[in-house]
């Protein structure tokens, strides 16, 4: 396998910044970039800086009026009267200066990844700043202003007429992407997430399977709270390859939120770092088996920025570039560099020690229930 992979990255990504206390913090990208560098996994020529998405590109998904409001709000000292009706200025998505510019750089990064892969300059590309899967046509939601996943898929449809398989393993349901392509049989969305019984956004039930022509092209597997590695991976390995082989995509887009980790403060899943090696491994194999390698990966949720995100996305890049990592101590320089600034003790090793993760209730029942969910999720989906 080739090493033709690109990381779309620039420190400018941190301009997407709400405020000091806000849980969404792109500083995690700096930490990830530093860990990748210290592991020796990055060459200068692997990195491509993001471009900004144009208004025309954003408008593939977003309402013009919404784009205008985001832009105007980012250049206004006070809150615009129309902001609230677009979900802006809330606790989740506070307004900040130049928010349009910061958000369209993230979308542009994902489009950059699409361009490189579809024009054959790379087999795979990873935009860790992307994965903002909650944003809607005309409304910000769940920390997301523009939906880079949806825009990238619409862009793939428009310029390459591609059949797109979207795989979302963020702990939250990929609602924005699902609803954007709910009636489209050329885009198959799979979301594996913690049940919406308690967790935001509440949707992602099995019964959401698409509509009209698109019926069967939306697949949701809600997992019980406290699901661990084995059950998460069992469901993922049961559902994703079958659907992928049945659908026969031209390209795979993966959303790689890492908030299913037990340490994540916003969710109730109990996985370890191990799943973040296994999840991209299978996606990578399927991309080579079905799509001539075409694989675009984006980031997503991940709110333990010190202990989880850098290790999870380092494993993703290591898989994408065929530079496998074994468990072992994290590079000493990385821990030294950041230990002072972290508010929690930094992990010592690449993988988690199962002993250190919290013990969970009702493992057998949860595993069994998740298995049933996976079976039922496949009922109306294409299968190969």
């Amino acid at each position: 396998m080739s090493r033709r992979s690109r990381l779309i990255y620039s420190p400018d990504y941190t301009a997407y910044y709400f405020h000091k206390e806000h849980p969404f913090n792109q500083r995690r990208l700096i930490l990830t970039h530093d860990l990748l560098t210290r592991y020796g996994l990055l060459r200068a020529e692997d990195i491509v800086p993001p471009r900004s998405a144009t208004d025309e590109e954003l408008a593939l998904i977003h309402d013009r009026q919404y784009i205008e409001t985001v832009r105007a709000q980012g250049h206004s000292a006070s809150e615009l009267p129309t902001a609230a009706s677009h979900g802006l200025g809330t606790e989740d998505v506070p307004c900040f200066p130049r928010m349009h510019e910061a958000a369209s750089l993230i979308v542009g990064g994902t489009l950059q990844a699409v361009d490189l892969v579809m024009n054959g300059e790379a087999d795979h590309a990873f935009n860790p700043a992307g994965g903002l899967h909650h944003a809607f046509r005309g409304r910000a939601s769940g920390f997301c202003i523009y939906n880079d996943c949806s825009v990238a898929i619409a862009y793939l449809r428009k310029h390459w007429d591609a059949r797109v398989l979207y795989i979302d393993t963020d702990a939250h349901h990929g609602d924005g992407v699902q609803w954007a392509f709910y009636d489209d049989p050329h885009v198959l969305t799979v979301s594996i997430h913690e049940t919406g019984k308690y967790l935001f956004p509440g949707t992602g039930d099995l019964s959401e399977r698409g509509t009209g022509e698109g019926y069967g092209y939306t697949v949701n597997v809600p997992l019980d709270a406290f699901t661990e590695d084995d059950s998460f991976l069992e469901v993922y390995r049961e559902v994703v390859p079958k659907v992928a082989r049945g659908f026969k995509p031209d390209v795979i887009v993966t959303q790689n939120g890492c908030d299913a980790h037990a340490y994540d403060p916003l969710t109730h899943l109990s996985c370890s770092i191990g799943i973040y090696q296994q999840i991209p491994r299978l996606a990578h194999q399927l991309a080579h088996e079905l799509c001539g390698g075409r694989w675009i990966a984006v980031g997503g949720g991940g709110y333990d920025i010190w202990r989880v995100v850098p290790r999870a996305w380092t494993l993703l890049w290591s898989e994408m570039t065929d530079q496998p990592l074994e468990d072992g101590p994290l590079p000493a320089g990385w821990r030294e560099r950041w230990s002072q600034e972290s508010d929690v003790p930094l992990p010592e090793r690449l993988f988690d020690d199962a002993e250190q993760l919290p013990v969970i209730p009702r493992r057998r029942e949860i595993t069994e229930k998740n298995r049933i969910m996976a079976e039922r999720a496949l009922l109306h989906a294409p299968q190969g």
Partner: protein
Amino acid sequence: MRLEDIMRKRVVTVSTATTIGEALSLLRGNRIRHLPVLEDGKLVGIVSDRDLRDALPSSLLTHEDDSQVLHKTVSEIMTRRVITAHPLDFIEDAAKTVYEYKVGSLPVLDGGRLVGIVTESDILNCLVEMFGVHKPSSHLEVEVEDRAGSLAEVSQVFREAGVNVCSVIVTPGSAPQKKILVFRVQTIDPRPLLDLLTAKGFSVCGPAEGGMRP
């Protein structure tokens, strides 16, 4: 919500003289399962797809018998004692009626005139929506004393936290003097809200039923 809000107002009906064959093709053509039977504008019976199927001879019999049955009238097989509802009935009462009498649909009568019909799946669908998720939101449960003002006290905390509430349901609590308020709140991060509620002495139930803090 009342039945007039959800009932189907265009009702496909038949007369007592309609044949079983005609009734069958009406059911199939309109993709429905119940046909009210009218005589001089008054509801005198109802036939369901099951009544019609039961009336047909088994497929082992000859075609002659088959066509004979198709030419019988629905008045010979219809249910005459029809369970009906009123447009002002509440959804939850209609649900109870359907459950109690084990019927698949309720013709809705206003002053004796047929004005609509609701099926059990219409009612179920409506209940699912009432409990469902309309906006991206998190779910949270607070157990409070079963007395006046409890809901207002909790709502005050939501206001303080600046969080919008999408829906509220009140259910019985773990003890007779308690009740549980079930909220859907429009935020991906309910932690500040949980902290505030806990600080004010409210007990918040999490995803592990039995009260573990999320």
